[in-house]
Symmetry: D3
Subunit: 285 residues, 6 copies
């Protein structure tokens, strides 16, 4: 009566019947745990010392960095390979080119790291400048969720632009879970971006955000329509340079442009373009 064997059988039968979700058959998908582990390595290369529990000194920095780069190439190449195989034809999978192609993407990502570091520095400086409570760049890097979310987004976005499926999405959902900031890997975000508090922020796939933009908690930059056949259109708004968007604002639509230097007040609902230097507020109690 306590037998589990027939229960195992029923579940195995369910695996056979509900194909497509069962990951045990024809091909392998990127592994969430591996992608997150390699993301931690990447964060440690971008800001050495940010996560590790030991002290880095100049003598060993070269070796620690070398160890990480080798590990990143090995592991991320494998995960990206699985993601690429899954979208390519059987012929392509059988060829030897897939691995090389995947490796080249990862090497290109590593070549981008100095630029990613520069961008993250501009984000951290924007946070320091934009938040009276911030006391130092280091405090910002160690504890501001917006800075981490943008750092991860810039990595995921790079892979997204190279055509890698699933892996960037796993990265962005990981940092979404940690910070409450949901940025689709497809979004284009300029430098000096500051997302404060961040919980509930949603930035859609085809958003284009300029330089020096400030975004507060609960802001949605979304689509007006979710028709499936609009997937290839620009469905999300454009935010020009030096815009500030306060908490809870909702800005929707692929043709909506928030003009340069505008200030969008909290809890506003915007579905049409706004001229440069506009100030949009709800009435206040």
């Amino acid at each position: 009566m306590r037998s589990l064997d027939t229960r195992i059988d029923r579940i195995l039968e369910s695996y056979s019947n509900l194909g497509g979700i069962n990951l045990a058959d024809s091909h392998n998908f990127p592994n969430r745990a591996s992608v997150i582990a390699v993301l931690t390595d990447i964060e440690n290369v971008i800001f050495p010392g940010i996560r590790e529990d030991f002290v880095l000194d100049t003598d060993t920095l070269r070796f620690v960095t070398g160890e990480r780069l080798h590990r990143i190439v090995r592991n991320l190449t494998n995960e990206v390979l699985k993601a690429i195989k899954y979208i390519c034809t059987k012929e392509q999978r059988d060829g030897t080119g897939c691995y090389k192609y995947s490796e080249q993407i990862i090497l290109a990502l590593i070549d981008e790291i100095p630029e990613l570091r520069r961008l993250s520095c501009t984000d951290a400086n924007a946070a320091l400048e934009g938040d009276p409570a911030a006391r130092s760049t280091e405090e910002v890097i160690l504890s501001y969720p917006g800075v981490e979310a943008l750092m991860v987004h810039r990595v995921a976005h790079f892979l997204h632009t190279k055509g890698v499926p699933i892996v960037p999405r796993i990265m962005s959902e990981y940092v979404h879970g940690r910070t409450g900031i949901d940025i689709h890997p497809g979004a284009t975000i300029g430098e000096e971006c500051f997302i404060d508090h961040g919980t509930g922020v949603v930035i859609g796939e085809t958003c284009v955000i300029g330089r020096h933009v400030k975004i507060y908690q609960g802001v949605t930059l979304g689509a007006l329509s979710v028709k499936k056949d609009y997937a290839d259109r620009k469905r999300h708004p454009t935010i020009e340079d030096n815009v500030t968007i306060y908490a809870g604002a909702t800005i929707l639509g692929g043709k909506t442009v928030i003009g340069e230097g505008s200030i969008i007040g909290g809890n506003t609902w915007i579905t049409a373009s706004v001229a440069p230097k506009s100030k949009i507020y709800n009435c206040v109690v």
Copy 2:
């Protein structure tokens, strides 16, 4: 002067005085870490491969599944046992029936797994259909927080309907922490549900949600009153089939019914019923 001994004494004294929160005395409560570990096992049975860092093949799938089911029964029976003991009388605790009763609940949960898999598949398909940015069912399962939150909810809800206290709540708060989606284990949710982005969604204990409902970030399905003696009433709204609720909408009250096929716009505030096929929007800037 550096002595910690008197400090230890003062804290122990505090444990004695503030009874009821101190877990070191009369009975044991379910352990959060154990509940979360077993939840990971359950997720791996529902979608084999979703979390594990190794490749499953058909040959070993039976043994991996068997290993997990045995571990789930052992560990979850123990945690549920602690939760049940804590609400039953001393006589009931002393009898041998508690363990058997707890074990039967867990075996029933395992019998439910094929159905839970089917429901999760409908949720994943709803996400694929409802989000232009989604590219494949696998991407959805691996990276959409709404799909995970619903999968965990369906497990927690099953235990809740069996009368198990605390354990389902630990599960739902765990996934709330990971996704920002807060669904009380008591809520009834139909198949093909899609919660997009999800951060800030709150679904109350006595909600009833039909089939094919779409819910965006920041939606609250809550109560109008929080009087303690209303605990046994239906305090949260009913959402009928094919309803879409956009970001930030707040729908309150146990008698509030959102009629079939309605569309509730973003940032709306609704405390009364709405006829089928209604479209409710705030005015737009």
Copy 3:
């Protein structure tokens, strides 16, 4: 062509050029992983049994507590030392006083633990009283994110009042990541506080919150201006005793006072003071 050596060189060069973010040079900052580990120890002292995966009994409670207190003093003294060194002058760093000063702060924190336990109990009781779905104090402590966020806040606030930089912020961002509740360590919060659901709550640095206040998800208690030279002013509102603030309300400004016993409705936007016993609601659809 697969060489990583030149890539390592380019990244090391980037470390040299972008000084101030690179943590590998002149001084060490508090380590995020260590701070979080010690925070877990502190939570286990405040509510023994809340996180651990073993059963505590009276016989061993003294030894477990002693072990934890010694570990807390050792590890947190070191992290606080790094934070303090980083703001003090070279002369101060060279002296031996830094370690002693840091240790005294941690010992004072330990002396505060019985009071922190008492405050957390009042929070848990407020949750039990305020939520019809709550069934027991233990369920609340084990699974309500608001109770955890407040417990961590009270620890972080204590360190903040002692002038410790960075460490309290790491703690508050850690629990922000877990709960979606973002409370700045500087905020002053009275006893019997209940934050329900919590996702998206933001409580600013100079907030002052009285006793027995209820706060729902998505509430912002923020600043009207983010000018950097206002950093030392009171920029965030005062909430008096017995106030309830429903989901999505935004209350801004350092001179804004919500009078005793007021009820602030959901999705309201408030930038001026409100008299005691006020009830402020948006119009409802």
Copy 4:
């Protein structure tokens, strides 16, 4: 000048040149860490509680055992599969029969476990009877290296008799490392065997040992010749029932038989057969 890249190249070149030891090429060998992990599981099934750090009770014993058996079958089938593939032809490897064959061996091993438990009990009782310092069967099982070495040998020997290469040898060398007792998996050992202290004991591949034999530290049961073409002959001695062999004795040769009930004194050197009931001693200072 600090470059490691050319050093990596030189080592990779060495991997290419010294084929046959480099495990990175054509086929995979059993993994030492996996074999040892599964061996720990087997030991825990044979003597539940012997290694685990938690308390087993009757209620959960079935589930713990089921979990272990599934894990043993999965993992050991895979390791044995690698060992078998490595000795079979390419045609055999390509067929699907290898996995089934490996699985059947492991299932047969599991069928043998009750018998292996019985044998280990006779060994433990022999130790209790034979050592005045032994106080209880439990002490013997928990702390006598001879009992563990024999338990592992009986597992390894079973696999050896099924024709599995390498895996049994990894098992016997693992326990050799832990106990200093080196028993080749090919040796045949009867029940009620007691190996006391054990360090330095060597028992060769074609030894045949009867029932109720006592062996002390430093005893060698070895071969007279190590010519490679004698590999298929019986090269090691036969020890009949009820023999005692004291510390440091060396008994060599495939035709050497130590007759029933004999006592072989310490530090003796024996290369010819000995009649039943003999007592062989060196002269004593």
Copy 5:
């Protein structure tokens, strides 16, 4: 045909039938892994820094030591409690005295630590003096197996003299496995003892060894008879001060006394007493 359920049943049946070895029933035995973990803590208190992978400084030494002592008392009290319960009557087990008694033994062990440190220092100095290859006390402590075996023996012997069963034997077999040196916890060993190389050394339960004794690899200090009813007699030899025993010597018998200052040559076999200052050698090839 792949079913494991009937196999689980057969093994459970075997657990029921072979009572006394099955640890899943009436009482719990000390746990090997826990005893070894606490032993590592004790070694770290005796020689702080010997095993740990971090740097200790004077400031934190007090807190590290306090943490360890609390952990040692908690864990070792529990293991000793299981060992004591197992030998006492049901009445004794039900009383509350067992825990207190066990705790007092552990507190006495902790009171002994300064003396254990002193003894280990004399052993280390004896190794430094006695081995031309030894270059420093630190090298000796970090890498000489004889020093570790004696350190663990002195701990195990202390518990043995307090009447604790099984636990000291687990400790001595643990270090036997690591070093090949098998010292029964009952043996009495004076200070300044040096065991060089050590593999194969066996020192029996009732041995008495004086000060400044040197013992080489493969030495046996054993019994002449293993009759079970001699268990309470002195069965192993006495070694007086300043004796040296070279590799492979065997000295047997409870009445055998090796007189002060004697030198016992390699591979000798001694079953009778030897006068002080004797030099005993085998003839040499």
Copy 6:
């Protein structure tokens, strides 16, 4: 009465009084755990796949190797640095040359790896040739303790010849503990060496062993005198090419030479030189 504080004080006092063993003061010694971890990395570079629990393929081999080499250089440089600092003067320690010097030693070790691989291959082939029970080179590498002991010895010996203290000794004692084979890092051992079974083998600091030598368990190659002022002399024997030494033989003395091609029988005791092609046996019972 349960206070541990005064006990902590007494132990701290003991740390102050017994200087030189307490590792918490003036300088740091190499850390045993770190040395062993790096040794595992070195073994994995020498025989890729020998220890790891994952499958290596050609594509990733370069990256895995690069990761390991960087980690080896970082970690072993640090441990060797601590060992070197400990023997050098304060002036030397303050200079910056110590780190560079240590790093150069480790880079030289890495340059030696192809040669170390070649030597280990000759050892493995010698085992395959010399043991009728050996079935394949792979079985030998995966399971013969003699092959591992020699592999580690060749690493430790390289560091010893570079003048590094303590670290090589930690390595050799680690593998002594695993295999029972005790080879001092100073010993010189030629290629094609086969140590069979190995338990109890002792090879002293100044031994010189030629090519193609076979050594069985319990063989001692030791010193005749252990006077401390002989530390710089050759105290251990020379074994010429193609010698076989059977189990338990003892060969002592720095001037003792075992001539080319000799066979030394089991349990012999030799303190003088032996001509080439000699066969030395004890008489046999």
